[in-house]
Symmetry: C2
Subunit: 333 residues, 2 copies
């Protein structure tokens, strides 16, 4: 099934079920107060949500029966506008190795055998069409196209198989980064904080069955199409992820249990083939350094747009599309 | 006023107002559904909670009038059993400098002028008397005694003064650490994840006015008394914090707004005077290395206890006491 959160006067928004073709939606507030509530009570609500989804799909095109309405991605918050936890990995080693060259950092020990993952901020996620307010154009504004999962509770020490069984929903992520702040934060050893502003999400969270064979081995095996100001930037495929989501969740749960509503990200989708392009500017820049001795692509400017949509073999975008504009934040006292 | 959260069948627990002497409590569910709800609607609920607090203090000792009951710290969850965000600094530079020597890491750039802070996990905080389940005794189990604040919403780019004005409550923290996992996670540059299991909190969150002059310049100027298995371990004072909480909150908010319910920690309380002892084992170990060429204190074993209580000049503990035991976690499939 497909779920989304419409903005409302409540901070967790209004849960809706969205038709498979993303054309229509229907309120699901009678089943769960929010998507976070639904994920926390998944076993109690999933069947009811699925039944509503099936009724909605049957009636698509027939009007507003049963209270359905046109689905508007611009009215969406992130599927979870806020949640208890967001951990983001760097599970495409091709990207990680390129970034090591970009930042001239020492190779990460055990990079091939232990995932690297940072604890991110989950208090304020942005919707798919929200403007992205940032304080300073000179900070190296960059997008990062990723896939992610929303989990139920995960016990401490869960195996990768148990962890994978706790995946409730799949999401598509734009993990905004301020590249000029990254190197110092990495050097402190304390990790990313200021260099990671609020993360953005595609409008629709989907159950894994929606992808058929494109969800396999804990990986989303779809091309992630990225456009910057309307121009092609890349379409890397999620199949090359070096750790599956089961392994990533188990990594996060090694020394503590995880609450339901935890979001785990893949890190920037990246393929070895140059023809696939990139899902973030920093990666393209390091390729330019390798090829030409210097970066030729600048970071984003205020007013720039980025769009991202994973697409299946029919060209459909199961998560909908992220389409955002970077803007100058209002200065504060 | 003083607030606590009793464990209940709801994940956010049951909000109670606690008497100044921590002897009695009264349910505050008619005012706010939880402490998180109260912090999110602070301007609407603070006066009602304060009035209830004053009535409770007036009747202390006179029995169960108005539904008050004996306050039992062992029945407490963390004041916020879970919340949207937890960021922990290392604001006592004496500690940070010692830890650099312990881990043999390069000095952090700008350590004296820019706070270091990591994004922690906020999905599963432990109560003051909860057993602390950990998977492996060999991971270097350590406590870290800290102070913290719970904030309202903070706008992006807030000044330290504005940030400080958003402090709603003060808390006392035990930031559990698994020291053997720290160095690798620092080397990745992605920061702490597995080496930071669930964080614990003293039973009572207090408004800053409760401390009188001991809350000054964004610092909690109290001795934090730490005992390990009943023996004195340290009583460093919060006054030596090199960055005040206003500066720490502003640091976290430089590139994004912060949601109400954000918890910001001071990092391990640490004093230059050796007579103050330490608030974590790792710091004592590095002092031993400096003095004797080798560490003489081992990390915690299963069954060990740690207690922590900030005390005022009358010996009272305004936050109550953390008193926890480390236990082996149940293995998972």
């Amino acid at each position: 099934m497909k779920l989304a959160t419409l903005k409302s006067d409540r901070p967790d928004g209004r849960l809706v079920v969205v038709s498979r073709d993303l054309s229509r939606a229907v309120d699901a507030g009678a089943i769960a107060a929010s998507l976070l509530d639904a994920v926390e009570r998944w076993d109690d609500v999933a069947a009811s949500l699925q039944a509503l989804y099936e009724r909605l799909n049957e009636q698509t095109g027939t009007g507003t029966a049963d209270g359905s309405f046109l689905f508007d991605p611009a009215a969406c918050a992130a599927p979870l506008p806020r949640t208890w936890q967001w951990c983001d990995a760097s599970a495409f080693l091709n990207h990680g190795r390129l970034m090591e060259r970009a930042f001239n950092t020492e190779p990460i020990p055990d990079f091939d055998t232990i995932p690297v993952m940072y604890q991110g901020a989950s208090d304020d996620f942005l919707g798919p069409c929200d403007d992205v307010p940032l304080p300073d154009e000179s900070l190296g504004i960059d997008f990062e196209g990723e896939f992610g999962v929303i989990t139920g509770t995960v016990p401490m020490g869960a195996s990768a198989a148990v962890a994978l069984s706790r995946v409730r929903l799949l999401v598509q992520v734009n993990d905004w980064s301020l590249r000029k702040l990254g190197p110092r934060e990495m050097k402190t050893g304390f990790g990313f904080l200021q260099c990671k502003p609020s993360t953005s999400f595609a409008p629709v969270a989907i159950t894994p069955d929606e992808l058929g064979g494109a969800w396999h081995d804990g990986r989303v095996k779809l091309d992630l199409h990225v456009q910057w100001n309307g121009a092609w930037f890349g379409n890397p495929n999620g199949a090359e992820m070096n750790y599956g989501f089961g392994q990533l969740i188990a990594h996060a749960a090694r020394t503590r249990r995880l609450a339901a509503g935890t979001v785990i990200g893949s890190g920037t989708v990246s393929n070895e083939s140059r023809a696939a392009g990139s899902a973030c500017i920093a990666e393209r820049r390091v390729i330019e350094i390798i090829d030409h001795g210097e970066p030729r692509t600048e970071f984003m400017r205020f007013g720039d747009r980025v769009s991202m949509a994973a697409r299946d073999s029919q060209g459909e975008a199961p998560f909908g599309t992220i389409d955002q504009r970077v803007v100058r934040a209002n200065p504060q006292a």
